[in-house]
Symmetry: C2
Subunit: 600 residues, 2 copies
């Protein structure tokens, strides 16, 4: 139906007769002659309908409206001098049409395609039109390049892509599952997988050695922020490997992906930092290191302070830390209030600060300087390299909490200061040695930080086996971070029954419970499980960052909104009562209150 | 953890010190010295533990049992003359071990890996062990090669892989949906997609032009025969194309796939046959043409027969047809009975046959020859080229029914005669011009043969628009067939609102119903939908045929059994009542009878 795409023709083609097909991007009447920009997936070509070439076609061209689908045959001609359009690849030529077929007329669109649209509901309702916009088309094609480069690279490395089930089993650990009622086995349910974790480990037991999958995963969470109920991960696992092998593999993979999808060279290997160091210095397990503003420990400065908020925190085993926001002493009262809210949401009682307006303390603005001795102030200035114009922000309390509070304040300050405006850096980082266990106040037990199959570091293995539990135990678990976003993470796994049993015990999972919920995994470990480990990368976020977008919804063809709805197809929806009868389920209006038997 | 894989070392490596890791495939004691075949994903290498090299390792080697994971370091050595094993790639050498690490001990396996196992339940329960068998590993790797070749080819052709949602919308047309209750919108349900049909058409409206996806699809059907509740298809769609374009594309795709996954050259283009011809000649819409035994029309022969079963069928507008099973006059009574059952299951009342034992009718064995005149017998012999030793099988009745009956009988006879034993032919075929509509007796209306978006052939378009409905209307729908298996099918779609409306009307779908169920598709057609069409290939079956397997379960890592169960992970399973409360659903024991409110 075409001889060329709309981005192909150049001066060298002048004189050729060609056929193009696509959408009318615009139709303009210049002195009774219609000019259109014809658009297809690849670009634009100007077509002109002159009565002297074909009077019927010229007449018909007056009916053209935006987004009509048309087929144009004509001769490639040079544009008149002064009408060359350098903005498009075919700007030197135009098609002088000899034939015009209107393939499909279009109604007036609900929104214009060449303008950014802030009404996301409208975009989503007409997603098939939204996708026609150059930005969305480009994003989806970039996503394709990312998955293609991933598959090419992993295939070359000997990895085998294997599909694991979507109709899977509910696992009690982890997030909330989506359930699928079974009709053939009434009262029983499949669950959609949160990740193919168990399957990929079982493939390692199965001797596959190198597995990957670009896998759909599902979590039935409340959809705050930028989450989707279904998301995609690049999931990989290998046998006979250690952490170094996985790290090297993923660095190679990301290098290939950024090269092919964004034409960017990234470092062959990334910096590494332990989780403890990341928390201590950046107050985050996914530090954004494109700017400094590090957390500085002030324990020595305030150990004996008469300011009890500081000295009291230290006395009870906590810390006092601060960040220096260079040049931000002019912060507004509203901004201070916003930062204080950020700190409070992270668990602080308030936020102590000093606006360092001049050289001397009397020029400063702060609610706390009056409590500090001149020696403390000097020591603090020295520790933080304070200069006039700076803003100092403090945290005091338990170590991890203070780190988190200041980590969030640090990011909020950077946003207020526009520190990253125009910054094109791609700052990759490995965060290693995550804790193995965390303490869950609510249930009064340890929980797995990564998941129950994560291996402790060699040095801490005996402690786990001996039941000497603490949150100091470190795991062979690692995250890869880009510009403050977690791209993905993984771990080396436990492959021996004894160590796995010790881990379940550490998590307060009884033998019976373990046998019931993880029986097949424990069984598998008895039959010659190889050492193995892996990692998963969040594809949606990776593509989002490569495309320079702020939301994963911009890189998903048909995303759900924050109520889990697809506004285009109107899903989820009510269903025919017969479908529920077949499944032997019924809906309840309030917990425990049955509706009338469905359709009975 | 290794320097080489277990298939790599050759005589050229003799003298090198290497490290291998893998599973003990067997351990044998020869005069106090242990020999093992060490196995990894790639192959086998013999290792020998001589006390003179390392007495500790030699001692430890006596503990080795099948499927232990071990790491062996040693020197590559020539095998003694007479002990070279030509069956394995590394058969010229062995590793004389200097170190042995038992990485993970294995219990005795529930079954042996080197024997075929008929107990499929046992295989499925321990699927992770079943996958260690060479055949399963090979199948899964072939599957990976098929998907990789597919992606490479379609990427080169400008196709863009786009993920469509798994949490999708229930569609009333088609098979039964799996449902997923929504927690955020109680009483509402997602459905798992039976195919990404609507999404891919909407992507065409979105200007993507060339889409593909290796897509998970779901059908909640009773799992007779070789079906799975979730299956995978190679799904593709393109704009500005006609049937020729899709056919050419898929021929190229299959050529690439068979080359890369099976090293087989297949024809650059496949034969084509219309649906009508396929039914008429082979009695099947997916004919196996690797053998003849064509259906022959005997209408002229029996038009005036005194055998009323034949002449009556003809008089009422039906047909009389027969097949000649060459050389099968010696069929047993039991086989005749089995063929008769096949015919009856296909809708016949019985199965008329002639065992042509000799030249003359008096030597024949048949329940019907006594009713036939000598002229009829001569004409039949001539039409079917009957020779002594043949078996003739008849069908009489309505055309489509007779075709189907004889088509199934034809396949059953070929199986009884072992006609395809040792046949390595790959016989590809396009079946075109499927009917647009079928008549559904039960609902008393026409239904879509392919789906409601399928386009009629140009010639039949006016009839559909005018509401002149019949099952004679032909569609631009096509199937690709390999050796009697449907590999896949597709169609050119309707892209105009008026034609789609006529199609819905033909299917008895009211305007309100169409608006409710397909509103977004009908909307989309108003905004400049391009002409488009596509096809989907069943990946599981394609890989099964490439691997030479008889069941798709042999090419799926973790399949379900015919009750929809995964015996390994025990899914589907009962769930925590809290999960159901969160979803505001409850199970009912019998339709209409609520259980006690879940956990209340």
């Amino acid at each position: 139906m075409r001889t060329h795409h709309c981005n192909e023709l150049r001066s060298a083609n002048i004189g050729e007769t060609v056929t193009l097909i696509g959408w009318v991007n615009s139709a303009r009447d210049h002195g009774g002659v219609i000019f259109t920009d014809l658009r297809d997936r690849e670009g634009f070509t100007q077509c002109v309908f002159r009565p002297e070439e074909n009077s019927d076609a010229a007449k018909l061209s007056h009916q053209l409206r935006d987004e009509d689908v048309i087929q144009v045959t004509g001769k490639v001609s040079a544009r008149l001098e002064g009408t060359v359009n350098a903005k498009i690849a075919t700007g030197e030529i135009e098609i002088v049409a000899t034939e015009l077929v209107i393939v499909n007329k279009a109604d007036v669109l609900p929104f214009q395609l060449d303008k950014e649209l802030s009404n996301e509901d409208l975009r989503m309702k007409y997603r098939y039109l939204d996708i026609r916009r150059a930005r969305m088309t480009r994003n989806l094609r970039t996503r394709h390049r990312v998955t293609k480069a991933t598959r090419d690279f992993l295939d070359e490395q000997g990895f085998c892509e294997i599909e694991t089930p979507i109709l899977s089993k509910s696992t009690p650990e982890g997030a909330r599952d989506f359930l699928v009622p079974s009709r053939l086995q009434a009262g029983h349910f499949y669950a959609l997988p949160q990740a193919p974790q168990q399957y990929k480990q079982l493939l390692m037991v199965g001797g596959i050695e190198k597995y990957f999958q670009i896998a759909k995963c599902f979590r039935d969470e409340d959809l705050r922020a930028d989450r989707q109920p279904e998301f995609t991960q690049i999931d990989l696992e290998a046998s006979f490997v250690d952490q170094e092998d996985i790290i090297g593999l993923v660095e190679g993979l990301l290098g290939r992906v950024f090269k092919e999808a964004r034409d960017a060279e990234i470092p062959a290997s990334f910096d590494r930092i332990t989780w403890k160091e990341a928390m201590n210095v950046y107050g985050s397990d996914k530090p954004d290191r494109r700017f400094e503003m590090k957390l500085t420990d002030l324990g020595e400065v305030f150990a004996n302070s008469s300011f009890k908020v500081f000295s009291g925190a230290l006395a009870s085993g906590g810390v006092v830390k601060a960040i220096n926001a260079k040049g931000f002493s002019g912060i507004t009262t509203g901004q201070v209030e916003a930062l204080t809210q950020t700190a409070i949401q992270a668990g602080a009682k308030g936020l102590a600060y000093i606006q360092v307006r001049g050289e001397t303390v009397d020029t400063w603005r702060s609610p706390i300087t009056k409590f500090l001795s001149p020696e403390e102030i000097e020591a603090m200035k020295s520790a933080l390299q304070v200069e006039p114009g700076d803003l100092v922000l403090f945290g005091a309390g338990p170590w991890e909490q203070v780190c988190e509070i200041l980590g969030r304040v640090r990011l909020a300050v950077a946003a207020m200061q526009n520190l990253l405006e125009g910054n094109e850096e791609l700052n990759f980082l490995w965060v290693t040695e995550f804790p193995l266990l965390a303490w869950d106040e609510e249930s009064g037990r340890h929980v797995a930080v990564h998941h129950p199959f994560t291996r402790p570091i060699k040095e801490d293995e005996p402690k786990l086996l001996a039941g000497e539990l603490s949150t100091d135990l470190r795991a062979q678990a690692y995250d890869v971070v880009l510009n403050g976003h977690e791209l993905g993470g993984g771990s080396i796994r436990i492959h021996e029954g004894a160590l796995q049993t010790a881990m379940f015990k550490a998590l307060g999972i009884s033998e019976e419970q373990a046998a019931e919920e993880f029986g097949h995994i424990l069984d598998a470990f008895r039959f010659g499980a190889p050492p193995h480990g892996g990692l998963a990368l969040g594809l949606d976020r990776l593509v989002m960052l490569i495309c320079g977008e702020d939301s994963i919804r911009e890189v998903i063809a048909f995303p759900k909104n924050n109520k889990g709805s697809d506004l285009m197809s109107q899903s989820p929806a009510e269903v025919d009562p017969k479908q529920l009868r077949d499944l032997r389920i019924q809906t309840v209006k309030k917990p425990g209150t049955p509706t009338a038997p469905a359709g009975a």
